[in-house]
Symmetry: C2
């Protein structure tokens, strides 16, 4: 799938077909993570691949904002170790993962684990050292047929609300000045 | 360009051809930002498009880690307003911008503006409200011919160093358990 098409059509997906994710596809998603850019190229990340049903269910039962993880065939936890900018590095890696997954017919939904108790429980479940930052657990699976054929369901601000020319508050215009 | 190919071949680019970035290409990059996912879909971001040479030079003279901005034909500053997770949302948007730009023959380099004095100076220059978070200024331009034909220059950890199966510390294996 073309890069811009993937970006344009990508939607957040919270329900998945039961089909397992083939190893070749999983490894493309992991490769998208591995080659992502990071602050000072520190690559401070770890990716825990979860496919055991009991583990997925347990994660879904802990994470109140990610109950759907329980029904995904795959989840990948992202944790960082002593990162300069844990959220920024993780955001770049996970977006590459999401786009590559999308291009393969899969979907995901970012699960923020900001509740400290839930975050700590999942770290313990996954054996992640307490001093690491657990950023998210991303479920992955083939998306169901009622989603993902168009980007029309995206609810986004207009470009005029978020883009500026040269200075904040000066409306963006296509043509360059001067 | 295929999504996975863009992810695999993308490199950080710090020198650019002098050619201006066509409006149609700039607007694909802005669209990649606009449709990016964000925490609770708050879309807390603003994108300031900078094309005036004097502004680009001034940014390059302030940002010690981004002197090359001075010589780019375009830069886009990302600032967030009261975001839940400024770095995470910005990381997701900027990675979509970077990949779409790469697929169009352009390159960029994340410029962290962690030095508070420099950050404040650039906010002032760009008229960004003091209470916003200025995350980065991304230069964009067509990449020079000696870069970007392969991903071979990427220096990355091996998958075995960063991937785990079910629990941290358990080596990743391709085949699912059970």
């Amino acid at each position: 799938m073309d890069t811009f098409d993937a970006v344009k059509t990508r939607l957040t997906v919270r329900s998945f077909k039961p089909d397992p994710v083939p190893v070749a596809v999983l490894e493309k998603i992991l490769e998208a993570a591995r080659v992502a850019p990071s602050s000072r190229n520190l690559q401070p990340w770890h990716f825990i691949v979860v496919r055991e049903r009991s583990m997925l269910k347990e994660i879904g039962s802990i994470a109140t904002s990610g109950k759907f993880v329980a029904d995904a065939p795959l989840a990948i936890a992202i944790a960082t170790d002593n990162a300069d900018r844990p959220d920024l590095d993780s955001g770049r890696a996970l977006q590459q993962m999401e786009l590559v997954a999308w291009a393969e017919g899969l979907g995901t939904c970012f699960v923020g684990l900001r509740d400290e108790t839930q975050n700590a429980k999942i770290k313990k479940l996954l054996g992640i050292p307490a001093e690491f930052d657990l950023i998210t657990v991303l479920p992955f699976g083939y998306r169901t047929d009622d989603i993902g054929t168009s980007g029309s369901k995206k609810n986004r601000k207009a470009l005029s609300e978020i883009a500026h020319s040269e200075k904040f508050g000066v409306p963006y215009v296509g043509q360059a000045p001067g």
